[in-house]
Amino acid sequence: MLLELSEEHKEHLAFLPQVDSAVVAEFGRIAVEFLRRGANPKIYEGAARKLNVSSDTVQHGVEGLTYLLTESSKLMISELDFQDSVFVLGFSEELNKLLLQLYLDNRKEIRTILSELAPSLPSYHNLEWRLDVQLASRSLRQQIKPAVTIKLHLSQNGDHNTKVLQTDPATLLHLVQQLEQALEEMKTNHCRRVVRNIK
């Protein structure tokens, strides 16, 4: 699958051949850093002064590069497809190789960052448990009532929250049995076939 680059995008990227490869590599590093932590316009100023161009040009160059990397990572395009897509920009052999390397080196991390953008439910983080026995209450003395107290740690969008819950021994065994069945399901022929065939 080839990447489709818009005219505007191509214009922005046209800045890259005008600087030497060390600078392009540096822009690549800045682009990934921006994906990790967010944009920092001050960096554009510094770079613009050193290269003697407007900071807009630098910004567009970095943004163009960022978009190139994220789209390629999102679609998980092959090396060949990447090379063919970039070919239309008419860059030098050296620059093309540099861009490909940038893509391959950073693809995994960019995909991890992109996966955090998906709609998400609270996800499991940790579980702590404790065995308790209730011995008496205001309304009934001399009891022996076992219970398992559970602290469930969940995280959502970076926030952690915990829920404290309780269950009785019978339900605990039931929970274990049900969830073990859930795990077993991945090993069934049906699931294996799906995983093998959807690629």
């Binding site: 679609l75 439910l121 579980l127 209450s137 269950t167 969830l179």
Partner: protein, 195 residues
């Protein structure tokens, strides 16, 4: 067990065959247990024709006394000798004491279950449901190809009678971690019961 004068007075009236003949006594005794333990007992539990000849104020007093005593006895897990002693002090004859103790014994389990269920506790997990999905793509990320689980815990709150659910997603590794920890808890439980 500390019981008030009102309860004692009520029992003394119950003991008197002049106020309560044996049929009335049996009916009142049953009514006391029924109004405590039967979830569908209605307010007319004392409206039996064979109780009509008794002054309603007396009837209510004795009913309340009996119910109070039954709850206190249940709470403290009173044994037969404790019951007998108190009833003797209230001037119950042998036959009525036997009758009370038998009726108490028959209802003891339900009574203790009822009393044990009163009280605050943490939200209680009652069930779990799960869903296995295979994630293919999102609008931000294509070609994902990984399995994920969605687990929902059904939870019951004792005080609010509400049934919130707790749902969360997890990967296969996370679910294995979760199941591992729950299994540790249940093994610990087994070991504790063998001590």
């Amino acid at each position: 067990m500390e019981l008030s004068e009102s309860v004692q007075k009520g029992f003394q009236m119950l003991a008197d065959p002049g106020s309560f003949d044996s049929n009335a006594f049996t009916l009142l005794l049953r009514a006391a247990f029924q109004s405590l333990l039967d979830a569908q007992a209605d307010e007319a539990v004392l409206d039996h024709p064979d109780l009509k000849h008794i002054d309603p104020v007396v009837l209510k007093h004795c009913h309340a006394a009996a119910a109070t005593y039954i709850l206190e006895a249940g709470k403290h897990r009173a044994d037969k000798s404790t019951l007998s002693t108190y009833l003797e002090d209230c001037k119950f004859d042998r036959e009525r004491i036997e009758q009370f103790c038998t009726e108490y014994q028959n209802n003891k389990n339900s009574l203790e279950t009822l009393l044990g269920s009163i009280g605050r506790s943490l939200p209680h997990i009652t069930d779990v449901s799960w869903r296995l999905e295979y994630q293919i793509k999102t609008n931000q990320l294509h070609k994902m190809y990984r399995p994920a689980y969605l687990v929902t815990l059904n939870v019951q709150n004792t005080d609010s009678q509400s049934y919130p659910e707790i749902s969360f997603s997890c990967s296969m590794e996370q679910l294995q971690d979760l199941v591992g920890k729950l299994k540790d808890a249940s093994k610990s439980l087994e070991r504790a019961t063998q001590l």
